[in-house]
């Protein structure tokens, strides 16, 4: 009787086919794909005022680029948390 039960259990185990689950790579916002602009160069024979403006522009450029990097970091953390929810 035990042997019959074991045989029935083994037979019922059967075989299975794999059903694939497709997960797309998360979309990155187009804004984050923008490249950082190059820093401005001070023209020759610039006055101290012109130089100050170039420096201010470059600082602005830096903060804009830093903002994009922060956006990427935030995007990564958010997507990672979402991915973990699937596990």
């Amino acid at each position: 009787m035990k042997a019959i039960l074991v045989i029935i259990s083994l037979l019922l185990a059967g075989c299975s086919t794999v059903v694939p689950v497709t997960q797309k790579f998360p979309q990155v916002p187009q804004l984050l794909l923008e490249q950082c602009k190059p820093l401005k160069q001070a023209p020759q024979d610039s006055s101290i005022i012109d130089l100050t403006k170039v420096v201010v522009d470059n600082y602005t450029q830096y903060y804009e680029c830093s903002n994009l990097v922060q956006g990427w970091q935030e995007w990564y953390k958010v997507q990672q948390n979402i991915y973990k929810e699937l596990k």
Partner: protein, 141 residues
């Protein structure tokens, strides 16, 4: 392989085989009783195996469907989060640009008129090229 074969068919063949086995055990005058008995065992075993395969497939199919559903939900959540991130980045970028413009305007309106700056420019109208070249070199990757 047996995706399109209904499950009841395997149940039916199993019960038919079981009945056949019992008949061969009870009815002694049956011709080819031994052969039918082995045949019924074989069919019962095969039916059980295929029934198990169907059940197992169904379980995996249900799990995969649930997971796929979750993937769809999470994709929607991911898109929502992307919109929030873009909003934050755009707001901050606009603030940074505005601040840059304000400072440039401040330079044009206030700094150029500052007495100390005016004196400095009179005394030294142009920044030496050596200094400009050094600054430009630092601004070049």
């Amino acid at each position: 392989m047996f995706e399109f074969v209904p499950q009841w068919l395997f149940s039916a063949t199993f019960f038919i085989a079981l009945v056949l086995y019992l008949v061969t055990k009870t009815v002694k005058v049956l011709p080819y009783a031994q052969l039918l008995q082995w045949l019924s065992i074989l069919v019962a075993a095969l039916s059980l195996y295929l029934l198990g395969a169907k059940w197992r497939d169904q379980v995996w199919h249900d799990r995969a469907q649930a997971l796929q559903q979750k993937v769809v939900e999470l994709e929607a959540k991911s898109n929502e989060e992307n919109v929030k991130i873009v909003e934050r980045v755009v707001t901050k970028r606009d603030t940074i640009r505005e601040r840059g413009k304000d400072i440039i305007q401040y330079v044009d309106r206030v700094v150029v008129k500052d007495n100390e700056v005016v004196k400095y420019i009179e005394h030294c109208p142009k920044v030496p090229n050596e200094i400009l070249n050094t600054i430009n070199k630092a601004a070049t990757p």
